[in-house]
C-alpha cells in the first residue's frame, strides 16, 4: 500500500517537474518577445511625439550683436625728410650764382641717413667772355648748370641748441658725402660731393638746415681738362613725414 502511494507521488512529482520546466520555457519565451516589442515601441512613440521646440515658441531674448568699427591707432613713422633750399654756388670760371634745389632724405638710424638732392642755377659769363665783348663760349641753354647726387650722411654731433633761457631745440651737425652728375655746358660730368651741415629741429616735423658742400668735377670748357672745386652754401627748410 505504502509502495503504491509512493509510486503515485513520485509520478505526480515527475510530471509536475516537467510542467514546471515547460512553464519556465514559456515564460522566458514570452519575456523575450515582450522585450523585443518594448525595444521597438519607444521608437514608434518618439516618431509620433516629435515636436520642434524652437519653431513652436517665440525667442524671448534676441542677442543684439553690432560690429564695432575698428580703427587701429597706427604709430606714425617719420623717417623721411623732404625739403627745399636756396643759396649760392661758386662755379669755377663761371661766377658765383644763386642756386635753388630740393632734397629727400631717409633716416636709417638715429645717426645715418641717405640723401638725394637736385639743384640748378644759371651761371655767369667768364672773365674772358666779358673782356672780349662778343665772344660767347656757351649758349644760354648750356650756361644752365644742374646737378643731382646721392649721398650718405651721419649725424656726428647731435645735441641741443639753446636760444635764450627758455628755449631748447634739438639739433645736429652732420657730415655728408656722395656721388652724382653735373649737367653743364652740354655735357654730364661725374661729380663727387662732400660737406657738412647743421640741422635745427624747430618742431618734431620741421627742420632748418644750413649746409656747405664742395662739388668736385672735371671741367674742359676752357680747353684743358681740369678738376674744379665748386663750393655751395645754402639754407633750407625740411619736413619729416
Amino acid at each position: 500500500m505504502e509502495s503504491r502511494f509512493r509510486s503515485l507521488f513520485l509520478k505526480t512529482m515527475t510530471s509536475f517537474r516537467c510542467n514546471l520546466k515547460m512553464l519556465c520555457r514559456i515564460y522566458s519565451a514570452a519575456m523575450l518577445v515582450t522585450g523585443l516589442m518594448l525595444k521597438q515601441l519607444p521608437v514608434f512613440a518618439a516618431d509620433e511625439l516629435l515636436i520642434d521646440p524652437v519653431s513652436d515658441q517665440e525667442q524671448i531674448i534676441k542677442p543684439e550683436i553690432e560690429r564695432r568699427e575698428i580703427k587701429v591707432p597706427e604709430i606714425d613713422t617719420e623717417d623721411f625728410e623732404i625739403g627745399v633750399y636756396a643759396g649760392l654756388m661758386s662755379v669755377e670760371d663761371f661766377g658765383t650764382n644763386a642756386v635753388i634745389g630740393f632734397r629727400l632724405a631717409y633716416h636709417v638710424t638715429e645717426g645715418a641717413f641717405f640723401e638725394a638732392a637736385y639743384g640748378s642755377m644759371d651761371t655767369e659769363e667768364t672773365s674772358y667772355e666779358q673782356l672780349s665783348g662778343a665772344a660767347q663760349l656757351l649758349t644760354d641753354d648750356e650756361r644752365k648748370l644742374s646737378y643731382y647726387n646721392v649721398s650718405i650722411g651721419y649725424n656726428l654731433l647731435p645735441g641741443e641748441s639753446f636760444i635764450g633761457s627758455n628755449h631748447a631745440f634739438n639739433s645736429s651737425l652732420y657730415v655728408i658725402a656722395g656721388v652724382g652728375s653735373t649737367d653743364f655746358a652740354g655735357d654730364n660730368r661725374f661729380t663727387m660731393n662732400y660737406g657738412a651741415g647743421y640741422r635745427l629741429l624747430a618742431t618734431d616735423w620741421l627742420a632748418l638746415h644750413a649746409d656747405m658742400r664742395d662739388h668736385i668735377f672735371k671741367n674742359d670748357v676752357l680747353g684743358t681738362d681740369k678738376t674744379t672745386h665748386n663750393i655751395e652754401l645754402h639754407a633750407g627748410l625740411t619736413f619729416f613725414f
Binding site: 575698428i70 591707432p73 636709417v108 638715429e110 634739438n170 652740354g186
Partner: protein, 246 residues
C-alpha cells in the same frame, strides 16, 4: 608660427582697439621697473624723466628706433625700442614691433636700390628696381649713367637674376640681361659721335642682409655692345651699393 606672426599681431591690434575704443594713439603700460625718457630721438640726448612700472603712456610717433610718448601727466619725450618692448598693451600682452627679418630678406618681393662703381674705367652710377617671382628668380630694371672725360652714356637694362641660395645672409646671384646704351661724346671733342647700341650682359654678385630692410649689394657684369660699326665691344663693370626690400 612665423607665418602666423603678422596675423597674430593684426588680431592683437584689432582686439587692442576694441578695448581702448576709438583712440588716436596707442596706449601702453610700463612693465619694466622704469623707463627713461630722453629729450630727443637719439642715445646722446639727455634723460629728463623716468616713468615707473604701472603707469601708462601714449605712443605719439616713431623716428627710426625711437618712440615719442606722452605720459599721464602730459610730459613728452623719446623712448628707445628696447625699452618700448617692455611695455604691455591694454590686453596685458607685450607690445611687438614687426621689423623685416632674415626670413623676409630671402622671401622679398620688391627691391629698390642705388649702385655706383666703375664701368670700363668710367664712373657708373645707377638705380634699379626688381620684382621677385619666387625666392630664387627675380626680374630687374636698371638705369645707369656712365661718365668719363670723353663721353657720357645712359644705360637702360632689363635682367633676370637667379639666387641659388636665397636663405643665406650673403646670398650669391647670377644675372643675365639686355639693354640699350646711348652714348654722347663730349662736345669739346673734335670728332663728336653719338650712338645708340644694343648691349647684353652676364654677371655675378652678392646681396647681403644688413639690418631691417637694408641690403648691401655688389656685382660684376660683363657687357657686349652690338655696335653699328660691325665690331662688338666688350665692357666690364664693377658696382656696389645699398638697397631696400619690401
Amino acid at each position: 608660427m612665423r607665418t602666423y606672426a603678422p596675423l597674430l599681431l593684426l588680431l592683437q591690434l584689432l582686439l587692442m582697439n576694441a578695448a581702448t575704443g576709438e583712440q588716436l594713439y596707442q596706449e601702453v603700460k610700463i612693465d619694466d621697473p622704469y623707463i627713461e625718457m630722453r629729450t630727443g630721438a637719439g642715445e646722446s640726448y639727455p634723460v629728463f624723466y623716468v616713468v615707473e612700472r604701472g603707469q601708462t603712456v601714449l605712443i605719439l610717433k616713431r623716428k627710426t628706433v625711437w618712440f615719442k610718448v606722452r605720459t599721464e601727466t602730459g610730459k613728452e619725450g623719446w623712448i628707445d625700442r628696447s625699452q618700448m618692448e617692455q611695455t604691455l598693451t591694454s590686453l596685458g600682452e607685450k607690445i611687438q614691433f614687426v621689423d623685416a627679418t632674415r626670413d623676409d630678406f630671402s622671401r622679398r618681393r620688391w627691391e629698390m636700390g642705388a649702385l655706383a662703381g666703375d664701368f670700363n674705367g668710367a664712373n657708373s652710377m645707377g638705380i634699379y628696381g626688381g620684382y621677385a617671382f619666387n625666392n630664387n628668380l627675380s626680374m630687374e630694371l636698371s638705369l645707369s649713367q656712365i661718365l668719363d672725360d670723353f663721353s657720357d652714356s645712359l644705360l637702360i637694362n632689363v635682367n633676370v637674376l637667379s639666387q641659388p641660395y636665397p636663405a643665406w645672409r650673403v646670398s650669391p646671384f647670377f644675372t643675365l640681361g639686355t639693354g640699350i646704351i646711348d652714348t654722347n661724346t663730349r662736345q669739346t671733342l673734335v670728332q663728336s659721335e653719338d650712338n645708340t647700341d644694343q648691349i647684353n650682359h652676364v654677371g655675378l654678385g652678392f646681396r647681403m642682409h644688413l639690418t631691417r630692410r637694408f641690403v648691401l649689394r655688389g656685382e660684376y657684369r660683363n657687357y657686349v655692345a652690338f655696335s653699328s660699326r660691325d665690331d662688338n665691344k666688350e665692357f666690364e663693370e664693377w658696382k656696389a651699393g645699398f638697397a631696400a626690400f619690401f
